[in-house]
């Protein structure tokens, strides 16, 4: 049979009988195909053939992607991440609340001067610069008249260098801290103390420059004019031994 004749016959046959619902269902479920549907069955057979090798080429890549995806999913499932975030937020809030309570309580107790001596002194050092009037541990101590006075008149030129014998050492620490980590590692109490002496945090740099400048090199009339009774003589040359003052000044 010549191909052309077969083609014509097939077309005529196909046109002659349309596929109905039942026949369509039989063809689609691959249950049967009448002999006059051989062409269509052949097409569907080709479309539904068993797997070809080329189609399974990506097998290893697919499994690798599965392993990767699963490890991502199990490493951080969204629900657990949310729970961690929630609990972290709660911890932060709880700590903040406790801190407020504790500091507030200490501040109140300190305001009445009823804390143990060491704590009272710490509270005094911490809270006074913040504008909270807290009596020092020992109000009759000699440090008392020396320290608060110059703080009320924070002019670095005359009052500050003599106000607090620990200031040069504190300034040294402060300047070292500035060079090291831009002051981030500095003890806040130290900064507060310097700020109080200098008249503000932004004044500390100039203040400390003045404090650490050797007055011997510049014998200005201000240096002897400083009315501080505590120290005048050892300052110019003994910039090194001075840190020996700091421990007891800071911790006493």
């Amino acid at each position: 049979m010549r191909p052309f004749a077969a083609l014509t016959r097939a077309m005529i046959a196909a046109r002659a009988r349309r596929i109905g619902r039942r026949e369509a269902e039989a063809l689609l479920s691959r249950a049967s195909g009448g002999p006059d549907r051989a062409q269509l069955v052949h097409l569907l057979d080709l479309a539904a053939r068993p797997a070809l090798r080329e189609e399974l080429a990506g097998r290893e890549a697919a499994v690798a992607a599965f392993v990767r995806a699963r490890s991502e999913v199990t490493a951080a499932p969204p629900r657990r991440r949310m729970r961690a975030w929630l609990s972290r937020a709660l911890v932060v809030k709880a700590v903040a609340g406790l801190t407020v309570l504790l500091v507030g309580g200490v501040a109140v107790a300190a305001g009445t001067g009823q804390l143990p001596a060491g704590v009272q002194h710490g509270a005094h050092d911490l809270l006074n610069p913040l504008g909270v009037p807290v009596p020092d541990a020992d109000s009759s101590a000699p440090a008392h008249p020396a320290s608060p006075r110059p703080r009320t008149t924070p002019s670095p030129k005359n009052s500050a260098p003599g106000a607090d014998p620990a200031l040069p050492a504190l300034c040294q620490v402060w300047e070292a801290g500035q060079k090291h980590a831009r002051g981030k590692d500095l003890d806040p109490a130290l900064v507060a103390r310097l700020a109080a002496a200098a008249g503000g945090t932004d004044q500390i740099a100039a203040f400390c420059t003045a404090v650490l400048a050797p007055p011997a090199a510049t014998p200005t009339p201000e240096a002897p004019a400083t009315p501080e009774p505590t120290d005048k003589h050892p300052r110019p040359d003994h910039s090194k031994p001075r840190p020996s003052h700091t421990p007891h000044r800071l911790t006493a």
Binding site: P3, I19, L46, A47, A48, L56, T74
Partner: protein
């Protein structure tokens, strides 16, 4: 692979087992790929990879048997295909460009056709000329092996609409000139019957 084995593979894969996932992939990848070849053409390989990636991510939260898994998987494939067509449209290219297989003539001699994948490619290209709803209905019924209700679930249509679309698709295919021309030289030596996607 038998359905019972595949069901076990599905359970294992849901628990994170690679071998289980591999068995599912081998069983369903050919059908997914062919369905996508009809829907997105040359992008089928990429879209199939995206489909399996999403399946891998979401498998842990999938809850159902093998039948539902088939529907679930082809729904993913369909949505990834829709995304791809949207991308193509945004690139102002013609998404319906049928494209010609690079490594063979469009209508190869039927004697060589059964030897490799060309026959399958040819069949898919013919089915691809159908209107999309008909092409999808035929592919999901014949190649994915879904019944009317499952096909309706994948396509988000009513069962009646799926039946009509598939029947119209078959009518068109039966009258397609290439199908008839090929039938002229077709000897009933028959390709192996391919009911399911067994390897």
């Amino acid at each position: 692979m038998e359905d019972a084995d595949l069901a076990a593979a599905l359970t294992a894969a849901r628990g994170g087992d690679e071998a289980g996932f591999e068995a599912l992939w081998v069983a369903f990848q050919p059908a997914v790929l062919r369905y996508l070849r009809v829907v997105v053409g040359d992008a089928a390989d990429d879209v199939a990879s995206e489909t399996w990636l999403q399946a891998a991510r979401d498998l842990a939260s999938f809850d159902g048997d093998l039948t539902r898994f088939r529907v679930w998987l082809f729904r993913i494939a369909r949505h990834r295909g829709i995304d791809d067509r949207r991308r193509m449209r945004r690139r102002a290219e013609d998404p319906f460009d049928p494209g010609v297989p690079e490594d063979g003539p469009t209508s190869p001699d039927s004697a060589t056709v059964a030897m490799d994948g060309l026959g399958t490619r040819w069949a898919l290209e013919i089915i691809r000329t159908l209107p999309r709803d008909q092409a999808e209905a035929v592919m999901l019924r014949v190649v994915a092996g879904l019944d009317v209700a499952q096909t309706a679930q994948v396509l988000g249509k009513r069962a009646g609409a799926v039946r009509i679309a598939a029947m119209r698709g078959l009518r068109r295919l039966a009258n397609h000139p290439d199908v008839l021309a090929r039938a002229a030289g077709y000897q009933p030596e028959r390709v192996r019957p391919a009911q399911s996607e067994g390897v």
